[in-house]
Symmetry: C2
Subunit: 109 residues, 2 copies
DNA sequence: TTGACATATTCCGATATGGGAATATATTAG
DNA sequence: CTAATATATTCCCATATCGGAATATGTCAA
């Protein structure tokens, strides 16, 4: 067996930084492929390929408008990632608190 | 170029479900490799390899205790993932609200 | 030192990748 | 229909992967 396909789930799809860039850009508003290409400074085929991966795992949705395809984020598909990370939230808050306490103790000297 | 190494960052490391399983298990408490092997039902070499990846990106830390190595989660390393997902939180909350409104309108008929 | 236990590393093979280049498909304008 | 525009797909290749098997390293006990 090799590494899981990027289309396996949102975790794998989002591991690629270019795809996160695209999602960040689409978070602002719906965009055509051409607009993404211009904004990302990537080749058009690369953008189309990344969009395909994102669409297969449900992270984006698309609709045709004339010759253009307009893509938008489906934020719900990001929720599972958020939910998984929040299971560790208590741990890092605890850690941040300890760091803060140490800093206060030092400045109190 | 091929896919980015799993040790590139937390996003890539966490794309592998087995590694998330290990992190979930370690979230409860510090554990030895042997305990992880028993809990995960994975071969020991696989566990060691996954732990190496997790350690390289800072998601876990380890200390030796006799013949054992005890691993623990470094929750701070998960924060960047959480932060990235929260940039979309407003979007899915908005979507959930709309779904709720539609449901209420239906039940109001 | 020797042996037993705990963990890490190496070698292997099948597989999926992402970028580049070329090409195919779809839609509209004329 | 034909040309032009917008997007998608295919082919190629260097690379990193994960699991399995075998082996190496490290630590303790006697």
């Amino acid at each position: 067996m090799a590494r899981a396909a990027t289309t396996t789930d949102a975790f794998n799809a989002v591991a690629e930084p270019r795809r996160r860039d695209i999602l960040n850009y689409l978070a602002l508003q719906e965009r055509s492929v051409g607009e993404i290409v211009d904004a990302m400074e990537m080749e058009q085929p690369s953008v189309s390929k990344h969009l395909k991966v994102l669409r297969e795992v449900g992270l984006v949705e698309a609709r045709r408008e004339g010759r253009q395809m307009l893509y938008r984020v489906n934020a719900m598909a990001i929720r599972p990632l958020w939910e998984w990370t929040t299971t560790f939230e208590r741990m890092w808050r605890h850690q941040l608190l300890k760091v803060k306490e140490i800093a206060e103790k030092k400045s109190g000297l």
